[in-house]
């Protein structure tokens, strides 16, 4: 037991309800054993779906098609704008169209290994199985995936795997997939099967007799607060990278929906697993509001370096070859600039911390294409990366053909989320969690191009069955609007909004969010230590107090008040930050996106501790001020053998 063990209480283990049998057959067997709702009865069931990203839009569509009544919610002004729209690179599927040795088993293996053996094997296998169907579905929807001259679908290799299994639509794969899902959702909306509520924010979960029965939503335009009751609730509300303030996520991404569910009893798993992406454009000043990701493919031809001597302020082109420190090439001769995301990121941080950072803020490293341009010609580079170079130019005002790009890592994805069992149901019956919002199939680190796959697998091909199974098994007693759980939840939401408006202090939600991000990034970012995490705990506690004493939110709750929405989200992000830090503190090992400096190999690599930490850490809320309860789900590996990652 850890020396920080007093910070939580241990609770009963969690059971993932993994079906018995061989890993290949689990999903088939389970589907066969599931109960079905008769088609004519389906319209008597009402399913609430929060989120209209890939996961939310797809599950709402599939349930609508089956005949259930669905209400779908998102906070944007159209479901088409959910954050999934921003994904660039692509989506994986084990189609083996390249005949390069790919298979379901290989995609499964890559995902488990990429996740540093911290994911649930059975889920990951199912994900790989379903992956092929997703591509069929999307093509039928009219997703214009890239094709070859023969008219067949094109693939590329992505994220450091040895096969080409990534399907893509220019640099806008997420947009095209989301539009596909949105189109199908639109069809269900037009058919009256799905009722869409845009600019609506879920602010609480309604739990009656331990079962999820509805949500409290605020209409962001009118301020109206109401309860929506149903037979099952699905949360597909995305990730919480914005706890770091600066991230590649859209500004609206937040944790509120799952955080409120956590406070109503749902277990939050592995909050500390965050993914950092090495090739983002560094912040240009204190005005910075978000970071922009540039495709990782840039590392295929770009060389990463910094001046060898700290404080060297010469322009990059004036730094002679011997004074350039190609730190990845020097440290990892066999992988060079193509080491995995976390290794590249950590090393960039290290050189910047040592004072070798470049750019006006000294917060980046160079990604230099001059050698590649000499070797391949400018034309080839233009062809390969032209649009990325343009994007860089437009953001920074610098011409990357003339001076090296500057890059720096940024938070990109959160593997943690609400805990779910094999059927994607949380420990609260009737509450299903899909997409990035669940603790997912990616373990401690996600492979590139696998999040889109997971969102659609959950939404089209898993949850529609498991939710049906759940609905077939419940005895449907109606919850009435005057039930104390309902009126209580509404009152809680109202009180909270009044509390936010009532502080009338002097600090803005934005400044508090920035401070949160700073704490998280410095103390709990790419490298974490017991000391930095303890510091973070103290700082976050202080921040939470500042928030509730010094916040200023103008206006009222009776109409569109963007500042009020934002403040509520920041409040939840601060609380989540505390749990994230606690989880990071408790996990005294390094794995995937979680790097504890205390746990590294002699050459500075992440060192797992399978003996003690081969489990999912599920956290259960125990009330305001009380230490949360840690509920473990042990991980068993039967189909793959645990091994150590090595890139040197």
């Amino acid at each position: 037991m850890s020396e920080h063990g007093h910070l939580w209480q241990n609770g009963p283990e969690l059971d993932g309800q993994i079906p018995p049998g061989a890993i290949e057959n689990k999903w088939d067997d389970l589907r066969f054993s599931m109960k079905l709702v008769a088609p004519a009865n389906r319209r008597h069931y009402h399913v609430i779906v929060v989120g209209s990203g890939l996961a939310g839009a797809s599950v709402a569509t599939a349930l609508g098609e089956q005949g259930y009544r669905v209400s779908c919610f998102c906070f944007q002004d159209s479901p088409r704008r959910a954050h999934s729209v921003a994904a660039q690179g692509g989506i994986n599927a084990a189609k083996n169209y390249r005949n390069d040795g790919d298979s379901i088993r290989r995609l499964f293996y890559d995902t488990v290994k990429g996740g540093d053996y911290r994911s649930r094997e059975s889920n990951t296998y199912r994900l790989a199985q379903i992956s092929t169907e997703i591509i069929d579905q999307c093509v039928a929807q009219g997703v214009p995936f890239a094709r070859e001259y023969g008219g067949y679908l094109d693939n590329r290799s992505f994220g450091g795997v040895q096969v080409s299994r990534t399907f893509y639509a220019r640099g806008q794969t997420g947009q095209q997939l989301l539009l596909g899902a949105y189109q199908s959702l639109t069809r269900q909306i037009a058919a009256g099967q799905v009722e869409m509520h845009v600019r609506s924010e879920m602010l609480d979960l309604i739990v009656v007799d331990g079962i999820a029965r509805g949500i409290v939503v605020r209409n962001l335009l009118t301020g109206e607060i109401r309860a929506v009751l149903g037979d099952a609730v699905v949360l597909a509300t995305g990730g919480y990278s914005n706890v770091f303030f600066l991230s590649t996520n859209a500004k609206g991404c937040n944790v509120t929906a799952i955080w409120r569910a956590y406070r109503k009893g749902a277990v939050f798993a592995n909050p500390c697993y965050t993914q950092i992406h090495p090739t983002c454009i560094p912040p240009s000043g204190s005005h910075q509001s978000k970071l922009t990701l540039m495709s990782e493919s840039l590392r295929n031809d770009g060389r990463i370096w910094v001046p060898r001597h700290p404080g060297d302020t010469r322009s990059p082109n004036a730094v002679p070859e011997p004074d350039r420190y190609y730190f990845l090439e020097e440290k990892y001769p066999s992988f060079g600039n193509l080491v995995p995301r976390d290794v590249a990121s950590r090393n960039a941080k290290q050189v910047v911390d040592e004072g070798m950072g470049v750019g006006p803020q000294q917060n980046g490293v160079y990604l230099d294409f001059s050698e590649a341009m000499e070797r391949l010609g400018r034309g080839t580079i233009e062809q390969r990366y032209g649009n990325l170079f343009d994007m860089y130019h437009s953001i920074t005002g610098e011409d990357p053909y003339a001076v090296p790009m500057r890059i720096y890592p940024a938070v990109h994805y959160t593997m943690g989320g609400l805990w779910v069992d094999y059927q994607l149901q949380s420990n609260v019956p009737g509450l299903f969690v899909l997409g990035e919002a669940n603790f997912s199939d990616h373990g401690a680190n996600r492979l590139g191009a696998s999040a889109l796959m997971q969102g659609l697998a959950d939404g089209y091909f898993i949850a529609p069955y498991t939710i049906g199974n759940y609905l077939a098994g419940i005895d449907q007693t109606a919850v009435t609007a005057d039930a104390p759980e309902v009126t209580g939840a509404i009152a809680d939401v109202r009180n909270r909004l009044s509390a936010l408006l009532g502080i009338q202090g002097r600090r803005t939600a934005l400044s508090l969010h920035r401070e949160l991000g700073q704490i998280m990034w410095e103390q709990c970012g790419m490298a974490r230590t017991a000391e930095s995490l303890s510091t973070a705990q103290a700082q976050l506690q202080g921040l939470r107090e500042s928030f509730w004493n010094e916040l200023y939110v103008p206006g009222d709750a009776g109409s569109l008040n963007q500042n009020l929405e934002f403040a509520g989200r920041v409040a939840d992000l601060i609380e989540l930050g505390e749990l994230l830090v606690l989880d990071a503190l408790h996990r005294e090992e390094s794995c995937g996106g979680h790097f504890r400096e205390e746990s590294q190999t002699a050459d500075g690599e992440a060192k797992r501790n399978d003996e003690e930490f081969s489990y999912v850490a599920g956290w259960a809320w125990q009330g305001e001020g009380a230490a949360p309860m840690l509920r473990r789900e042990p991980l068993a590996f039967e189909a793959v053998r645990l091994s150590e990652r090595s890139y040197s």
């Binding site: 797809s58 921003a86 093509v139 214009p144 240009s284 000043g285 803005t508 103008p554 569109l560």
Partner: protein, 250 residues
Amino acid sequence: MKLHLRVWRQSSAEDRGRFEDYELDDVSPDSSFLEMLDLLNEQLLEQRKMPVAFDHDCREGICGMCGLMIDGTAHGPVPGHTVCQLHMRHFKDGDRIVIEPWRVAAFPVVQDLVVDRGSFDRILQRGGFISFATGTAPEANSILIPKDRVDTAMDAATCIGCGACAAACPNGSATLFTAAKIGHLGHLPQGQPERYQRVMGMVGQMDAEGFGGCTNVGACTSVCPKEIGQDFISQMNRDYRRAVLGRTGD
């Protein structure tokens, strides 16, 4: 740099609205236009005033949430960019900048610079999709599509639904948006069975929402952040003509 901003303020749909002038100091030329507005809002909060409401989310030009009329140009002076991708280095110290919401009857103003673009969603509800049930799709490579066709479909499919086309159109027409979706699905084999139904439904809804008609001005393409071309409008017109004349056998 220092800026003089003239911003449209309107507390609600019912409010008549007015311009207000603000001075903003210390704007970094490296900040984006929306970061400049963040700064303005922080300043307003400090003065305990209501910040300016504006829509945004991804801040990288893909979600289509942002959209402002900047000095009379939708999405501002840099072609092929959304407001969120616009950087202040394209302005000069001491500039006066007029910021207005999209002005189209079918996009009613909700507050300040925020408008309601629900009409776009409703246009798509009249056929902007391919009808089939989840899980019934054939194997993906059983539908072969020539590369140039899929590339053309993709050119249209990049539309982010921002509404700049209608905002910049002297007729307040949503033709480019509608044509983009029709062009996306119309260029693909999967989109053929519903092709003519789709164009009838969507054009009908576009008119019903109160958008103006197209007079082939081309302002839409000039401001479109995805630079979607006029050819798709021609294509939509052809499909529509064929649909009404019953000449749908290709």
